[in-house]
Amino acid sequence: MSLRIYAIAYLLFLYAPIILLPIFAFNDATIIAFPLSGFTTNWFAELATNKSLHAAVENSLFIAVITALLSTWLGLCAARAGAMHQFPLKAGIMGFIMLPLVLPEIIVAVSLLVVVVQVLELGMSNWTIIAAHVLICTPFCIAILNGAFQNLDPSLEEAAMDLGESRFSAFRLVTLPLVMPGIIASMLIAFTISLDEFIIAFFLSGSSPTMPVYIWGLLRFPASLPVVMALGTILVAMSIILLTIAELLRRRGMARAGVKDKGGFL
């Protein structure tokens, strides 16, 4: 019984702040406080007209899409190699490329800043952020794709080659369709991580901020707080939808490969 209360309290603690977002996003007052004063969609309307916000969202979407593509591609190569081939120091190498998963982002951000500015002497741009985001997203992609490849019989590609297909078309016709749900799931998760990543983007963005950095900037003006709430509401909704799609695809992949679901990444 006490465990049940604990579980409920835990969920409340976890999700209550997020539920406040939509509540105040539709509240007709600039001050974030109860009692609520009335329903409005003004804040959403204001979002639609804010030019600098649009620029920030555009930056973020661009970065997130490129990051999703690159890190999934890298993850695909790593997961395939890990699942299908034996090579010296395999365990060590696989561990090493998973390391960014536990590296503090602020450390990654500072060291990348030093590398980009001092060593490479490059300017800040969306591409510097993309490089950093690929670094932190790739381990997640590998983790997801590993699952997809581990369920794959290594003889399948050989069987396709034995039946007359070249190495590449064997991969395209057999491996790719079987891991496709994993690829999509991996892209969605990389996209989500990149989209709301703050610390690295804060350090590495030049004159054009990404969306999280822009939101942080808005917080200095109390009057714009409800707009942030409205934006947050949209982001939460989008995250939930994307992660749900990712999980559904992963399950479909399992079912298609005819293996038992042992619980996924999420």
Partner: protein, 361 residues
């Protein structure tokens, strides 16, 4: 008989590991050939070398008179049934079977569909075409894998331990079906197996492999009755080994076998020729016998004491100690009417015959 596959001086190294040692082998057209050996003996490596998944470190592989050096698996006239069957789980049974026909653009859709139906009928899976491949049982997957390989009419079908994943009943049924299928299509089958019984039942010829080399290559009967070495004798079936001393090797061989005494055997009972000096002789359990009360024999007898009894229903296996020999003799007896099952410690007489001996170096 025409040679289809010729391997000459084939070696394979993985770093320091010598997986195949100087393999010389000819496999004929229409033959059911088996590679038999314990795990790690190189039999699968040899099969994969023929298939084109492994390239030999040196030596020549010829298939149908063509040198296969540098020819990848997809361009070889071989098809393989994998140990895991490697059925494509995202395709239907029919799509799996038709997979190899993708490249043949000149065959139209209807002909392809007909070929798939025929291939499925051949392996006893009529009407399974629309099923999802991942919903099949082990035996059905096996049949799909066979149909998928045979539809391409390869010169050689390679089978990598195809029956090891099936239960005993299913395995025995598939053995018979594979033999029937091989006779029906008439192409060369090369089977890799660690199951000596399976190899004996199915093959025209068997190559027994140990540690990367071929220990003996012969038809099943020769392999069973006249193994050329102790390791082959012990790997194929059960074999009693007795120390012996060879005295004269001439038209016939004179020797003394410990526990059985002096005797003469024919030259052909020594597959490796036989040399004067110490050797061993092998005797199969079913060529020995126990003289039960009321039975008579014209063959030779030696006194013994029952050391162990294993009852199998149709057969009883006895371990019988005879004087002067440490290891008891294993004897297989049919449980015919009127024959009792002896008890441990019973005094008995062992029937033997020098014609069933094989002299091993």
């Amino acid at each position: 008989m025409t040679a289809l596959i010729t391997l000459t001086g084939v070696n394979k190294y993985y770093a320091d590991y010598h997986a195949l040692r100087d393999i010389n082998l000819t496999i004929n057209e229409g033959e059911f050939f088996s590679l038999l050996g314990p795990s790690g003996c190189g039999k699968t490596t040899l099969l994969r070398t023929i298939a084109g998944f492994e390239m030999p470190s040196d030596g020549v592989v010829m298939i149908g008179g063509k040198d296969m050096a540098g020819v990848p698996a997809n361009l070889r006239p071989t098809n393989m049934v994998f140990q895991s069957y490697a059925i494509f789980p995202h395709l239907t049974v029919a799509e799996n079977v038709a997979f190899g026909l993708r490249k043949s653009k000149e065959i139209d859709k209807q002909t392809k569909a007909k070929m798939v139906a025929e291939a499925l009928a051949m392996v006893g899976l009529d009407g399974y075409g629309k099923r999802a491949a991942h919903a099949l049982s082990g035996g059905q997957r096996q049949r799909v894998a066979l149909a998928r390989a045979l539809i391409l009419k390869p010169k050689v079908l390679l089978l990598d331990e195809p029956l090891s994943a099936l239960d005993k009943k299913m395995r025995e049924q598939m053995q018979v079906e594979l033999i029937r299928l091989q006779r029906q299509v008439g192409i060369t089958f090369i089977l890799v197996t660690h199951d000596q019984e399976e190899a004996l039942v199915m093959s025209d010829r068997i190559a027994v492999m140990f540690e990367g080399e071929i220990g003996q290559l012969a038809d099943p009967e020769t392999l069973y009755r006249r193994p050329n070495s102790r390791r082959v004798a012990q790997f194929i079936g059960k074999m009693n080994m007795l120390d012996a001393t060879v005295e004269v090797v001439d038209e016939v061989i004179d020797l003394t076998v410990r526990g059985l005494g002096s005797m003469q055997i024919e030259r052909e009972q020594a597959p490796e020729g036989g040399q004067v000096g110490s050797a061993v002789v092998g005797i199969r359990p079913e060529t020995l016998g126990i003289l039960f009360e009321g039975e008579t024999t014209e063959r030779k007898l030696v006194d013994g004491v029952v050391d162990e009894v294993v009852y199998y229903g149709d057969m009883t296996y006895y371990d019988v100690r005879i004087e002067g020999v440490e290891q008891p003799l294993n004897i297989a007896m049919k449980n015919l009417i009127g024959r009792p099952v002896l008890e441990v410690g019973a005094k008995t007489q062992v029937i033997w015959d020098e014609r069933s001996l094989v002299l091993l170096p």
